[in-house]
Symmetry: none
């Protein structure tokens, strides 16, 4: 267990799950909690037992299935209803029965919200806080309080907002987290309010949303003003523009502010991607610290300097957060970036060879290729230059695809592929919901018997770009395909006048690269 000096409090499973399009099963929640525990966060808010059956179930499963090494579970819930007793409130009972060592109570701290949304008196709201906090404390749970809409509330009625903080602290809440619930604050005003509230004598926390694009900066400003408990979500998940990205907050605090929060930063990139596999939300490549682009360099101006000293162009060493520097191969890139990229892939290139590769890349880019998002195509090109021959596991004789809308309105897509592999001639036909899908199926059908690992190959993304804006469908077409197997992802590119032929080229390279990764020896 980490010491109690500074709290890293994750609310991915509760507030993060409010993100549009994000839906977590109980099993998903268990899986994410394990990843976060592994990373080393101090608290994991699991949901609202009693209010949400799925969350009740989560806490039930957690007791037996979740063997947390580091984090403590927190159950989220509201203060008791107006005019009742906490001891008799069924929702408060669900919090007691959750088995979570910590309960985080949300309470109103904005006078208008008490009156308009809660429809009770300011005095009764304070009584609800006092009663619920002290009841749960007596029953043996640790209590934190989320003061909802605190900053807007402080603007509206500072005395009352302060009274909420004092009441919670006096009743035994260990932390009062000040919430910027609608995410509209900017750092300087937020810091001023935190500093003013610090006088109330409670231990303070902060909970920020990103509606002004300042959630991370607001969290840091609150820490500078005295807060010792920060809330946030993995990958910045959350309603509207999201919650404070806990990974960015923790990276900044540990690497730039000198806090030792017990978070294993070296695991952060891995955990960020593992969590996004569970949520099935495509990870942002731009995400600070952990995004795939976070340390990717494109400008040729930079590449030569990066070769001299990478730290000239990076704010931190990417290894500290488990990420890698990547050189993007583009027409703006020179020999230096090709040498660096070659080294990254395990090829030591002579100056002459590197120059040759740069020449090929420039020539191909002039005809419409781009290798930035097609690392696998670049590696195949590099291998060809180094080894003097193209890597091939099969040779294609011909292919054909037909798309038809019949008189009755039904659509049909079909493809036939003829190829040779390991001395065998194979003909296969596939159907699909589109010509590329049909070609993909035919190609794999032809090869899967010989190369069973192709069954793990998945096309993750498919992008088409027309390259000249003046000729419409007669222009050159670039297709980028993003593929994955159980252990990683890679991109390939095809450029042809014809979108289908371009797709075929990218498909063929994707399959070739998949077999290369699997350790096969080229024919």
């Amino acid at each position: 267990m980490h010491d109690d000096g500074f709290h890293v409090y994750d609310t991915t499973l509760r507030d993060g799950a409010q993100q549009e399009g994000l839906n977590l099963s109980v099993a998903d929640k268990i899986a994410i909690a394990r990843h976060l525990d592994d990373l080393g966060v101090g608290f994991i808010e699991g949901g609202w037992p009693g209010a949400n059956p799925k969350d009740t179930e989560f806490f039930r499963h957690a007791r037996t299935e979740l063997d947390l090494k580091h984090a403590q579970l927190a159950a989220f819930g509201a203060t008791r209803r107006a005019g009742a007793k906490a001891a008799d409130d069924p929702l408060v009972a669900a919090l007691r029965e959750s088995g979570a060592p910590v309960v985080t109570l949300v309470a109103k701290s904005h006078d208008r919200h008490v009156e308009l949304a809660l429809r009770t008196t300011l005095e009764e709201n304070l009584a609800m806080i006092r009663d619920t906090v002290s009841h749960l404390r007596t029953e043996g749970q640790r209590v934190f309080l989320d003061a909802e809409h605190f900053f807007d509330g402080y603007r509206s009625n500072p005395a009352y907002a302060l009274e909420v903080v004092r009441t919670a602290a006096e009743a035994g809440a260990d932390v009062v987290a000040l919430c910027d619930t609608n995410g509209g604050m900017l750092p300087d005003e937020l810091a001023d309010v935190v500093a003013a509230v610090a006088e109330a004598g409670a231990r303070l926390g902060v909970h920020c949303h990103d509606d002004s694009g300042c959630a991370v900066a607001n969290t840091l400003a609150a820490v500078s003003a005295g807060v010792t408990h920060v809330q946030g979500c993995a990958n910045g998940y959350g309603e509207r523009s999201g919650n404070a990205n806990l990974f960015t907050v923790v990276g900044n605090l540990q690497l730039k502010r000198g806090y030792d929060l017990g978070v294993r930063l070296g695991e952060m990139t891995r955990v960020a991607h593992a969590v996004s596999e569970v949520t099935n939300v495509a990870p942002s490549s731009q995400q600070p610290y952990v995004g795939t682009s976070a340390f990717a360099h494109k400008a040729g101006l930079h590449a030569s300097a990066v070769k001299v000293d990478p730290m000239l162009y990076q704010h931190i060493d990417p290894e500290l957060v488990g990420n890698d520097m990547r050189m993007l191969i583009s027409s703006m890139a020179g020999r230096a970036s090709v040498e660096l990229k070659g080294r990254e892939l395990g090829y030591e290139l002579s100056g002459e060879k590197a120059k040759q590769v740069v020449g090929r890349v420039k020539e191909l880019e002039a005809s419409g290729y781009t290798f930035e998002a097609a690392d696998a195509s670049f590696e195949l090109l590099l291998r060809e230059e180094v080894e003097g021959a193209r890597t091939r596991f099969f040779t294609v004789e011909s292919w054909r695809t037909i798309v038809e809308r019949r008189t009755d309105g039904t659509l049909m897509s079909e493809a036939t592929v003829k190829l040779n592999a390991k001395g065998e001639r194979i003909v296969a036909t596939g159907e699909g919901n589109g010509p590329v899908n049909a070609l993909d199926r035919a190609l794999r059908l032809a090869l899967e018997r010989i190369y069973p690992e192709l069954s793990a190959l998945e096309l993750v993304d498919y992008k088409v770009r027309i390259l000249e804006g003046t000729h419409g469908t007669e222009a050159r077409t670039r297709v980028l395909i993003e593929s994955s197997d159980s252990t990683g992802e890679w991109g390939t590119v095809g450029v042809q006048d014809d979108v289908i032929a371009a797709s075929w080229d990218a498909l063929e390279e994707s399959v070739t690269y998949c077999l290369l990764r699997a350790g096969h020896t080229p024919a």
Copy 2:
């Protein structure tokens, strides 16, 4: 032209284009510049003429094709080479010849970068700045200076960093923009440095990157410390974690800091999405202010309170930035905008009719359509609702397309279309360099004898987007087609599982719209 008191400086076309996977053609750059001008930014940095042939071409085209109402173009470039004269430097000449009223020079301000990356002396670097700035000023251009790696430079050698600012200002630079090139700064330290530099007497600007997740907050902190020129990119595009998101910065400054920057915030959501259609980078739904989720409410706790008073749960009124609360998916889908658009197209819509159209648009958008870049498809939909029937000049019986790569390596694309027009049944076959091109030719071949004006129809652009990122080629596909005839341009959209079927739908609508424009009466 906006007054010179505060600069909103966009660098999407230069620094934004450094984003991984983002590649802009000259036509793309022109289109984006028009959108940004329409929004009301003060300066648009177009690229680096001389260093990048595409950018040289952009400035050449801009002179005749880009009639900016509001913004001024800026050409980006470096100070002259060491040991030469600015007047003799071919790259400096390219800046002069760009025709841009403003030149933004990048210069080193970090002593280590001067020595290690530029490989010259600190004194010569100052001479390069002095000479290049005063040369361009003498030649009649306004000069801004980007002081690269300024904040790290200030940490390393504050006296030298300050000397760079002073030198540039004395030589005649109107703005010295302090750049957090590697994006590692946090707001408080950055503000301290800006305040210290303010003494140098130059007008200051700021250029931030988001590697610490603080680009927006850093920009605001710099403004509080005295900066009157902010740089950023549309949608936060940029290398690694991106540049400061100009939309978020401007939203915060105008709505929360009381600046009148001349930006038409009501257009911001529309422009943000229009730009992402051009870049073909999927827009982030979480983006502050302009994201589709930015005002989308999911929490049950919130829903009832939102009903009482939406402003209890929103930091601003979404209409201020052209966005909508929840569900009102597109900027066009509001009833008022449908009524306005109808009037623009010559249809007087009743409230009931407008509501019906909004319903159709929402339903179609939920299944993947977008009408922002498909005005012709929207008009056909509007006509259908008003007139009770689809506008048709022909009815299609069936179509089929075949793409084949033969054993000899040659590619063949062929399409056959069967349709009825003016009581005639017509069968036509076309060949093309791709299935869509072949379908386009077959369709026109079938119709051109009856409707000769189709010979003027040209497909100007063709864009494909896959809508779900998880199934690769099996996902839903959206095709946008931009068409023109001798008198104008229009866009159509098709959405289907199959890329060819989606293309067909967009093609068929394009041809229909062309005939409608030509004054034909539907069959």
